[in-house]
């Protein structure tokens, strides 16, 4: 068995496989299918300062090798998280990471500050890229200035590992990555969903309640991989790669493109045990290629 451990800032992962926010609940929903402690990190649902009901139904549409969602950050707010969810997940022996969202810098910072107090949460992932909420969300993620402002605000309030999740719905993702690096992020993760749409031609109206939603799954993998490659070349901080990863082969593509770790989202819906299979598959690949550590293949892309 190869050494699968990687570091993201001060965060130590036993393997580079994490779960993507919004697709793995609080981990507990998958406890029947996988040993949660075999996963490098679990990034839980998007959490906001105040509770949110999310968008009306329908929130989901299937697309060719992908899906659209417009959940819209439904969650019971950070207080509920700290009081009710945290006690249930704090003893899971892997990195439990909270995905934090907001609609203004203050909200983001206050939410992060609250989570900073939770001993067993070693990192947050700042979601500045959600396409499914009217205010804030993606707005921060699409300009270097917006991204920088929110990261600076959170950085003051949060002293553990700060991962910033980038939007793919931009002209130049490397610029935005550099701006959040300068603003103090410990790592970036990408991609969040691509903004898309589906139409019901019989009813002649959008399938989703708010017309548009975020595209995820294998369909977006080529775009995600390109962006991870561009960002890994542009910044010095670690990059976490995601978008359409279905198996170990996909995961290794992201590692080779320069990602220090990866996240698995939509694939959990197709195979609830996919995470541990990917970790095992990476190990097999390393063995086959005579690598002692997964770190040997991170960014190891020839011409």
């Amino acid at each position: 068995m190869a050494d699968l451990s990687v570091n993201i800032g001060k965060l130590q992962l036993k393997n580079p496989v994490m779960t993507a926010s919004g697709t793995f609940g609080y981990g507990l929903e998958f406890a029947d299918f996988v040993n949660l402690e075999d996963i490098g990190g679990i990034i839980v649902k998007g959490t906001t300062l105040k509770p949110r009901e999310g968008n009306p139904y329908p929130r989901m549409a299937e697309t060719p090798q992908g899906m659209l969602n417009c959940v819209g950050l439904q969650n019971k707010g950070v207080d509920y998280f700290c009081g009710h969810i945290y006690p249930q997940i704090k003893d899971i022996r892997t990195n439990m990471i909270v995905n934090v969202s907001g609609s203004c810098c203050e909200d983001y910072a206050e939410c992060a500050a609250r989570i900073n107090e939770l001993e067993r949460i070693p990192a947050i992932e700042l979601n500045i890229s959600c396409p499914n909420v009217k205010q804030g969300g993606m707005a921060f993620g699409v300009t270097a200035e917006g991204a920088s402002a929110v990261v600076k605000a959170v950085r003051k309030a949060y002293d553990k590992t700060l991962i910033v999740k980038l939007s793919p719905n931009v002209t130049n993702v490397a610029d935005i990555a550099r701006s959040v690096e300068d603003a103090g992020a410990d790592a970036v993760s990408l991609i969040n969903t691509l903004m898309g749409m589906a139409i019901d031609i019989e009813k002649r109206r959008p399938v989703l309640s708010i017309a548009t939603g975020g595209l995820s799954g294998p369909a977006v993998k080529p775009v995600a991989l390109r962006m991870v490659w561009q960002v890994a070349k542009a910044v010095k901080i670690p990059v976490v790669g995601l978008g359409g990863i279905m198996n170990a082969r996909d995961a290794i593509e992201f590692l080779l493109a320069g990602a220090s770790a990866i996240e698995i989202g939509t694939a959990n819906f197709i195979d609830p045990a996919v995470t541990v299979k990917v970790a095992r598959g990476i190990d097999e690949y390393l063995e086959r290629h005579g690598c002692r550590s997964v770190r040997e293949i991170i960014g190891a892309l020839g011409e």
Binding site: G25, A31, D32, E53, E62, Q88, F269, I270, D271
Partner: protein, 273 residues
């Protein structure tokens, strides 16, 4: 650790463990055009399942089907170690399922969701109302009720006689009343127009079928003050309460049909009943 402190009002249904299983098809019966009854088994004893729960089926060989498909548990044959799914072939996913052949493997995640409330005593008079493929979960439900000593009453509706499936099995479990829109079997009309509703009193109603039917049943139940549970459909992605795609508007806010349901007491729903 795996216990949930009711976040979002979600709770585990009997704390039943969920499995990912590769089942093997033992029979595919085409009950009528466009409907397939799949019978599947496993080398291990099948897990415990409750009526109203469902499974997420992985569709193989369909280029256009990406996500799993939620299908109710139609019946469990403990002796043969079989689980049955009744499939209405309405799109590429269900058509591929309906085309399965004996010996084929089917990957399922199950049992999922929260099923019907079971009667607290054998004396309860229970009415089970189904329409179309919505009759599927009622067969298993009826069977489990019989085990508890109940004799359920089934009220099944269809457009015409040919629409009604598995009638023999229903009849073996309890009284069966039928409505058809063309009067080709039973009374003419919709299920809520059936005379048995005037004649008899029920302590509890469970229903599954097209939404207009379920709304009408719920309205009847409310008018009589009878507790009523409905099994809802919804577009699902994860099936385990993780993605929050499949919400229904309830008195407690948005609840996931896959985890808090698919069976809901109509009191919790914000339907215009």
């Amino acid at each position: 650790m795996q216990e949930f402190d009711i976040p979002f009002g979600i709770y585990l249904f009997y704390k039943m463990k969920k499995y990912i299983l590769d089942l093997t098809l033992t029979a595919n019966e085409h009950l009528r055009a466009g409907y397939a009854l799949l019978k599947l088994t496993h080398e291990q004893p099948l897990p415990e399942m409750c009526p109203g729960q469902f499974a997420e089926l992985k569709v193989e060989g369909s280029e256009t089907t990406f996500l799993r498909r939620p299908i109710s548990i139609n019946y469990v044959d403990e002796e043969k170690n079989e689980v049955w799914f009744l499939i209405h072939e309405i799109g590429d996913g269900t058509r591929n399922l309906g085309a399965m052949e004996v010996g084929d493997k089917l990957n399922v995640v199950m049992p999922l969701g929260k099923g019907f409330t079971m009667p607290s005593s054998g004396d309860e008079k229970v009415l089970l109302v189904g329409g179309g493929v919505g009759t599927a979960p009622l067969l298993f439900l009826g069977k489990e009720m019989v085990k508890l000593g109940c004799r359920p009453t089934f009220l099944l509706g269809g457009r015409s006689a040919g629409d009604l499936m598995q009638l023999d099995m229903f009849r073996a479990l309890g009284d069966v009343y039928i409505t058809t829109e063309d009067a080709s079997e039973g009374e003419k009309g919709f299920v809520t127009q059936h005379s048995v509703l005037q004649r008899e009193h029920f302590d509890r109603i469970a229903t599954c079928g097209p939404k207009p039917m379920m709304v009408a049943v719920a309205r009847y139940a409310r008018s009589k003050g009878i507790p009523c549970e409905v099994s809802l459909e919804n577009m699902m992605a994860c099936g385990v309460g993780a993605c929050l795609c499949c919400v229904e508007n309830t008195t407690e806010g948005h609840l996931c049909v896959c985890k808090e349901g698919p069976v809901f007491n109509t009191n919790r729903l914000l339907w215009q009943i």
